[in-house]
Amino acid sequence: MTARRSDNTPDSSALGYNYRRHLSERFIEAVLFLTAFVSVAITLAIVVMLVTESLSFFKHVSLWEFLTDTQWTPLFDNAHYGILPLVSGTVVSSAVALLVAIPMGTITAIYLSEFAPFTVREMAKPFLELLGGVPTVVYGYFALLFVTPLLQKIFPELPGFSLLSAGLVMGIMIIPYVSSMAEDAMRAVPMHLREGSYAMGATRFQTAVRVVMPGAFSGIAAAYILGISRAVGETMVVAIAAGMQPNLTWNPMEPAATITAYIVQVSLGDLPHGSIGYQTIFAAGLTLLLITLVFNIIGHLLRKRFREVY
């Protein structure tokens, strides 16, 4: 650059250099913006795709039938298109999972954040992370071939596929998600609140439950909502261990299909593109997305309502 400056037209060449520099900066910024915008494009694509494919489904089946029919047999000659059996399977398996994951996840979070000595914490956190990294298909194998036989020793009438065993394993699978998020929220509560509580003579447990947990409520709620979305959207564990027969039941001891298991079942077969059977999986997918969306909105509102700023 110094050499160029000593030429007889220093200003114009410096200007050209600056101009090129400016141009390439703008270009790079535009490219980076496009990469960031891809995520928005994905969301739009998901919504557009699910809605258009479902619209062609709802040309054949009325929304009323979809929501109220109690049978889901789209692939039979006598076809019924009632989503209720799939929803009941999803609700029951998720409920079992959450009955395991929410108490155990919360206890783990309180223990790690308020009670555990440093070394236990340093060992438990990566371990829980590893537990969350095990592929779901492996958990499905575990539910079908280990947990179900174990449960059958306690409940001899339990069938080979059941919502109970799928839900239990799903619950254990979700613990790391709930606990790590809830723990992060609890650790974000400032130390002086705890010290104030201890100074008033409260024990660790009282402080954890009455001071730290209310202070971290919005983060803990977010952790629960994440757990619910994971349970509702979980696929492989239920597809392997809960059977794939749509079954309108609220009893966890029975086999039943969830929304996700139905999508897997159809995808394993060979349905032609554009057929009504092909469109059912998009209607099922849209239902699933709406359910998770409702929970995400609830979570967002809870976070806004109870947010504590320190």
């Binding site: 913006f33 891809v38 575990f142 998009f282 995400n296």
Partner: protein, 310 residues
């Protein structure tokens, strides 16, 4: 000391003892819950180890799947997983890192940026099977990629994009602002600052995120089933290397394929016990693959935290 004082003292001591007992009970409960998580993992791993280890041999890795369980292997599955991961990484890494850099360093404070940020958070909560439906509709049918390695790789890339974006943002945010100011003071442009300083210093953090994302992608089954991957593939995709010019061929991108979790799912869902032994062996390989990747990520993060002193 009067009688009533002594009475008070006794009462207070009783209260303190009760509260301390509460603490102790919770401490034991917390440890128990943590133990349940540990025991589950041990049960899962040892069950698979006992069933699957005898099956693991050189032949298992170099044979195609077969109707006879004792001669079936995972050659096409691990080849498929490797190739799909190459596509996933090639798509998710530039997009995710680019979006992370944009959001952290370039994005102005406006509605569009808020929209992108909210969107990335929400994408992380979308069930994986929905990405499968998107890929089925968009990549397989509308763009005409078919049920190929390309479709599967792109589907998984969309799935792990939020993980890579968040990891990139966190890694870049951790770099103190003085580094940026130093670079600007020397006349560096924004991109020079990013590429010469911010990216090299955050490389380890970004790499951690990429590894965690890929470990998640390796185990994902549902989206790949949804795009209709075949489960019985007794051939390999065309080789990426050629004898004649230009020596590299991309035919494999369009080839049908199977991956490790699909192969395992296929074996788990068969009634014969011999196939379930194969499933255990395939699961063992899969778990070791994901656990190694996760452990590597945890180790990288740990080392980073130790060595980093700004």
């Amino acid at each position: 000391m009067s009688d009533s004082d002594a009475q008070n003292l006794r009462e207070i001591r009783a209260i303190i003892a009760r509260h301390k007992l509460g603490d102790l009970i919770f401490l034991v409960t917390g440890l128990l819950v943590l133990m349940i998580a540990v025991l589950t993992f041990i049960a899962l791993f040892s069950h698979m180890l006992i069933d699957g280890l005898p099956r693991l041999s050189w032949d298992f890795f170099t044979s195609f799947p077969s109707r006879r369980p004792e001669s079936a292997g995972i050659l096409s599955a691990w080849m498929g997983t490797t190739l799909v991961m190459i596509v996933t990484a090639a798509a998710a890494v530039p997009l995710g890192v680019g979006a992370g850099i944009y959001l952290e360093e370039y994005a102005p404070k406006n509605i569009l940026t808020d929209l992108i940020e909210i969107n990335v958070t929400n994408l992380a909560g979308v069930p994986s099977i929905i990405y499968g439906l998107l890929a089925l509709s968009l990549f397989v049918h509308q763009l005409g990629f078919g049920q190929s390695i390309l479709s599967a790789g792109l589907a998984l890339a969309l799935l792990i994009l939020p993980i890579v974006i968040v990891a990139t943002r966190e890694a870049i945010r951790a770099i103190p602002v003085t580094i940026r100011e130093g670079a600007y003071a020397l006349g560096a442009t924004k991109w020079q600052t990013v590429s010469d300083h911010l990216l090299p210093y955050s490389a380890a953090g970004i790499l951690t995120g990429i590894i965690i994302g890929l470990a998640r992608a390796i185990g994902e089954t549902a989206p790949i089933i949804t795009i209709g991957a075949l489960t019985f593939i007794a051939f390999l995709p065309p080789s990426p290397f050629k004898e004649e010019f230009p020596y590299i061929s991309f035919e494999w991108l369009m080839a049908p394929f199977t991956v490790m979790p699909i192969q395992m799912f296929n074996w788990v869902s068969r009634p014969e016990e011999a196939f379930q032994v194969n499933a255990a062996a395939a699961g063992l390989v899969l778990v070791i693959m994901t656990l190694t990747m996760n452990a590597l990520a945890i180790y990288l993060r740990y080392r980073m935290r130790k060595n980093l002193k700004w």
